[in-house]
């Protein structure tokens, strides 16, 4: 059976745990959803299921870290952000500890779980925490490489993890570096900056649509949202003079805001943002929700044409 993104997450942790006895996994009654049962079986001593108690989970992860462990704690993205924010902010980050927090089912990928389970605000909340690293891998290859680097990096990391399904956009030997965005295709008229499993492929599709209309389009995978690769953003702002950001999140506070924040200190260019506009989540399948929130290649290319006009 093909592996899901979550299987790669668990496989990577299993591999890291072989040589690093500090790697621990901590869950809040969603082990079967996160897919970490295999870790529990392989390393029962280093696996803790704290029950349906997410804030407690992050507090415990902080204590594990204080005593030298490297805990990977996971739950649905809504709970990994809103439910545990104070614990993560203070017990983990303010304490300058080494907690890796995983929020699964980003944005519309929560599908039928609906509005209570659909995180459109987690990146925005997490961006406000000083020094926190935020990553959102878009495929199997980058997921594995970034989880390894997250483990190696001393400090807290928020990992926005797409759980079910998988695809590969990168070759296995591609170098992926935390904090360094990847240019997936080059172009000179407009830059699409995207993150995550749903919107990086949509941005690539949008680039095809645009190229067919003679628009030379660059696409960047912003797998690390914090610290943002400001150098690359500035370079492409200059090179193409127009930017569209694409995120499975509210347009406020997330990737679009991060890119805009970074450009305000330098030389801003016209920007358009694709993402959820001030809306709560709802029930639906992925296709329906992509339409409902305008997270499609069609919407991205329409915004691209618009932003080019604003140059």
């Amino acid at each position: 059976m093909a592996k899901d993104m979550r299987d790669i997450y668990t496989d990577t942790l299993l591999d890291l745990a072989k040589t690093n006895p500090s790697i621990c996994v901590i869950e809040a009654d969603l082990m079967n959803a996160t897919g970490t049962r295999a870790f529990k079986e392989a390393y029962p001593d280093r696996f803790f299921d704290v029950g349906v108690a997410e804030a407690n989970m992050v507090g415990i992860a902080s204590g594990l870290s204080a005593e030298g462990k490297i805990p990977f704690a996971a739950t649905f993205g809504t709970f990994a952000s809103r439910r545990v924010y104070d614990q993560f902010f203070l017990s983990a980050n303010y304490a300058r500890l080494n907690v890796k927090l995983v929020g699964t089912d980003p944005g519309i990928t929560a599908v039928y779980n609906g509005g209570t389970h659909m995180p459109f605000e987690d990146i925005g909340m997490m961006r406000l925490i000083p020094d926190l690293v935020i990553i959102e891998p878009c495929d199997l290859v980058s997921l594995e490489k970034l989880v390894r680097q997250a483990a190696d990096h001393y400090g807290c990391v928020y990992i926005r993890l797409h759980r079910k399904g998988s695809h590969t956009l990168y070759d296995a030997d591609e170098s992926i570096e935390l904090g360094k965005a990847k240019v997936l295709r080059d172009g000179s008229d407009v830059t699409l900056i995207a993150s995550g499993f749903v919107l990086v492929p949509e941005a690539l599709k949008a680039a095809e649509l645009l190229e067919a209309q003679g628009v030379s389009t660059a696409v960047i995978d912003m797998h690390t949202i914090k610290p943002l690769d400001e150098e690359l953003v500035a370079a492409y702002a200059q090179k193409t003079g127009a930017i569209v950001t694409c995120e499975n999140h509210q347009v406020f506070g997330g990737l679009g805001s991060a890119v805009a924040d970074s450009l305000t200190g330098g030389r801003p260019v016209p920007m358009e943002r694709v993402g959820s506009w001030n809306k709560f989540g709802q029930v639906g399948n992925l296709e329906y929700l992509q339409e409902a929130y305008g997270m499609t290649a069609r919407e991205i290319s329409a915004r691209a044409l618009k932003v080019i006009e604003r140059k």
């Binding site: 009654d29 079967n32 349906v52 804030a55 509005g115 209570t116």
Partner: protein
């Protein structure tokens, strides 16, 4: 409406069939915890609570807060059967544009008092409603249904402390103690024992019942409805998946779909009243 115990038993099994058929059409749903709590929900809606489907907002109504929001697959058919909306809507469960999803939305479902789904939210809301009713000298009561796994959440215990501090004898909690959370048998995840002592220590009156025995459920809910100066909790021992013999007690059936053959067998059994 005041059904007898015998009628309630039959009604609960009829609604179990609605749940299973609805989930079958939807392609998935939280079957296990919806079936375990069905006897309690049926007793509340068809005998205990003062409610009127024609006036869901009437000021003297009793309140029901589904703290364990994922039991919506059980709750929505109860509301339909009680007449809050047309049963023909049930097959839209989890379809695009439907008022019903995996977690209940108070702005879309007539009779639903709280949009839940994030566990641990319902009991604090219920405490607030109970406080407000007291402020208004309104004699209505508040019933709050929790999952056992849900009571791992700290907010449940924060609310429990507050409820006894405020002597909320108009508040009745029910813990659907089906001994399963998602990751396994609850004793192997994080045990709740000694569960009665815990609630008692938090200032609650505790009534322990077999939550799948209708006579006990009715007796306990009627008993709990007599105010005694403190909140009451029913610890309802239940079986996850109750009524579908092939999945009863198995934590793997937190979420799923029976498939047509198993569904047919189960429906036949339930029609025969095998649920006792």
């Amino acid at each position: 409406m005041k059904l007898s115990v015998e009628e309630l038993k039959k009604k609960a099994d009829e609604i179990r069939i609605l749940v299973l058929e609805m989930v079958e059409t939807a392609g998935g749903g939280h079957i296990g915890g919806s079936l375990s709590a069905m006897d309690v929900m049926t007793a509340l809606y068809f005998r205990i609570m003062n409610i009127d489907p024609k006036q869901p907002d009437k000021p003297d109504r009793d309140w029901f807060i589904l703290s364990a929001g994922h039991k919506a697959a059980g709750y929505v058919p109860v509301l339909a059967e009680r007449g809050f909306f047309d049963k023909d809507l049930l097959p839209t469960f989890n379809q695009l544009g439907s008022p019903f999803g995996m977690h209940p939305d108070m702005h879309k479902i007539p009779g639903c008092e709280a949009s839940t789904g994030s566990l641990g939210h319902g009991l604090p809301i219920a405490v607030g409603v109970a406080l407000s009713l007291k402020l208004d000298s309104n004699p209505a009561r508040v019933f709050c249904l929790m999952g056992d796994g849900e009571t791992h959440e700290g907010t449940i215990w924060e609310a429990a402390m507050g409820a006894s501090q405020y002597k909320l004898d108009n508040l009745i909690g029910i813990v659907d103690y089906n001994k399963c959370s998602m990751d396994g048998p609850i004793d192997q995840v994080v045990s709740l024992e000694p569960i009665e002592d815990k609630w008692r220590a938090f200032g609650w009156r505790v009534i322990r019942i077999d939550g799948n025995d209708m006579a006990q459920v009715v007796g306990a809910l009627e008993d709990a409805s007599v105010p005694q100066g403190k909140p009451t909790v029913l610890i309802a021992d239940t079986l996850k998946g109750k009524g579908c013999r092939e999945i009863e007690g198995d934590y793997h059936w937190h979420y799923g779909v029976l498939g047509s053959e198993r569904l047919d067998r189960t429906v036949r059994e339930l029609k025969g009243g095998s649920n006792g």
